[in-house]
């Protein structure tokens, strides 16, 4: 039997020290990591349990929120300030997984979760460049209904599975990280990488660094929501999801934030669509046209070409929901 260690960190500094060397993984709720260890995808020599570290949710001076990395997904979604001020974040979290898993999963772990690509998870039966760099990608010619339509590479077409992260991208969250070299802050929209030549590298975290907290500013949006489209009504990963926030002024779009899930290796912030929409009317047609601009570079596969149109119609429906207009 391989030796295996478990330790529980009492402070962030202690966690960094315990995880130094890179052979131990940080353990949050375990909903993804424990499963991947059982499947043989992850093979750490030990675990550093970080669930006892700060998970507080507190208001910042500017009317924003700072959420400790160990906060449970369910605690964030249930928090009165999240529900009142960031409906897209509460709804995104509530759209993810099941109540049991949301009770276990931490915010830091949600950010760090791995793709649910079945070829990535199939150690014995499939080639995967993310799991075993250079081995090939069986998803590209396989069952790719759940895979990326934009930002993919010949090496990897996996999607990021998180719902929460899609809302955090639309809200321009900042990820506070710490490591032996000190602390720094990474914009959420940059936190996850596109696969390129190195699909095994998924975030901007350096070895030995860990997520400490997530911070969001006071919401600039008068209204916001999250809509998720999936193969069954609940407890399934997204085919396409949309997090969107909107503020109107004199019948024109003043502020807008849009991010999409289920279509890329990272939450896809739709800056081109936002630019096309700003200053114009909030109509479903305008939103659908703007997303066509955003997805001009999309390269869908035989199994997921439907996602382009589905994303457009989902964004159109979200526009109707946010603007109260069906024109």
């Amino acid at each position: 039997m391989m030796p295996f260690t478990y330790s529980r960190a009492a402070s962030i500094d202690q966690a960094i020290e315990m995880a130094a060397g890179g052979r131990s993984h940080l353990l949050g709720g375990g909903t993804n990591l424990v499963d991947l260890m059982r499947k043989g995808v992850e093979r750490p020599s030990g675990l550093v349990d970080v669930t006892a570290l700060p998970g507080t949710i507190e208001e910042t001076g500017g009317g924003g929120l700072r959420i400790g990395a160990a906060a449970r997904n369910s605690a964030v979604a249930a928090h009165p300030l999240v529900r009142a001020r960031y409906p897209m974040l509460a709804r995104a979290i509530l759209a993810g997984a099941s109540a049991q898993i949301r009770n276990m999963a931490t915010v830091g772990g949600n950010l760090m979760q791995r793709t649910r690509c079945v070829y990535f998870q199939d150690v014995a039966g499939a080639r995967c460049n993310k799991r075993a760099p250079g081995s090939g990608c069986d998803a590209a010619g396989g069952f790719n209904r759940y895979h990326a339509i934009i930002g993919a590479s010949p090496q990897c077409i996996a999607t990021h599975p998180s719902d929460m992260c899609v809302a955090l991208a639309a809200l321009d969250a900042r990820i506070h990280v710490a490591g032996a070299g000190g602390a720094r802050t990474i914009p959420m929209v940059d936190f996850h990488r596109l696969p390129g030549e190195r699909p095994d590298l998924e975030t901007l975290l350096e070895p030995g660094e860990m997520i400490v907290a997530v911070e969001i500013d006071a919401s600039p949006f008068a209204r916001s929501t999250y809509r998720k489209v999936r193969d069954r009504a609940s407890y399934a990963f997204a085919l396409v999801s949309v997090a969107a926030g909107l503020t109107m002024r004199a019948g024109r779009i003043e502020k807008i934030g849009i991010a999409l899930g289920g279509i890329a290796a990272k939450p896809w912030r739709a800056l081109r669509a936002e630019a096309a929409l700003r200053g114009g009317p909030a109509t479903a047609q305008a939103f659908e046209a703007a997303l066509a601009v955003e997805l001009a570079d999309a390269a869908p596969l035989p199994g997921n070409a439907f996602k382009v149109g589905l994303a457009q119609r989902t964004l159109g429906a979200v526009c109707i929901e946010l603007s109260g207009s069906d024109r």
Binding site: F4, G30, V34, R38, A90, L94, S98, I101
Partner: protein
């Protein structure tokens, strides 16, 4: 530190890779908690940790140290069944019964979540009091699959217990 399981203190296993599910079933012979998918997809292994529903298959037993675990054996017995167990019988909330312990544990915690005002994905107003509707119960119980398809009876049973508690 010990794990408190249905009121009894139990030592955490020496092998830290043992899941809470395996501790319960294989070492303590509390076989009411079921192994379904063993990968977090079915809910059959649902137990309560400090009163909250979690999946015991994805929880390492060592993570439950210092916590209080309630399994179906701690929720009710043949002599003194939980109101949800009686309602499941009344409404045919099962066929083979394999998912039932997880369903009952999940439902017990779910009713407390609703009473605490926790919203779900289908709650229209995130800041208003939550109503116990069929749609709410279906969404909130979606983490527990029933391959026999007894979901309608399960939802009926839960709605009846919820109505009784509200009365």
């Amino acid at each position: 530190m010990a794990i408190r399981i249905n009121g009894t203190e139990v030592a955490a296993p020496d092998d830290v890779r043992v899941s809470l599910l395996d501790l319960l079933r294989e070492r303590l012979h509390l076989t009411g908690t079921k192994v379904g998918c063993n990968q977090g997809a079915c809910g059959a292994c649902t137990v309560l940790v400090d009163g909250e529903r979690v999946l015991s298959c994805l929880t390492l037993a060592v993570q439950a140290e210092g916590r209080s675990v309630t399994t179906i054996e701690g929720l009710g017995s043949a002599d003194s069944p939980h109101p949800l167990q009686l309602a499941f019988i009344e409404h045919d909330g099962f066929q083979c019964g394999y998912c039932t312990p997880g369903q009952v544990c999940a439902a017990a915690a779910m009713l407390r979540e609703i009473e605490a005002g926790v919203p779900s994905y289908v709650t229209a107003d995130l800041t208003a009091p939550v109503l116990v509707t069929r749609e709410e119960v279906r969404e909130r119980m979606s983490g527990n699959l029933c391959r026999c398809g007894a979901h309608n009876g399960i939802v009926d049973a839960i709605l009846e217990v919820a109505a009784g508690r509200a009365a």
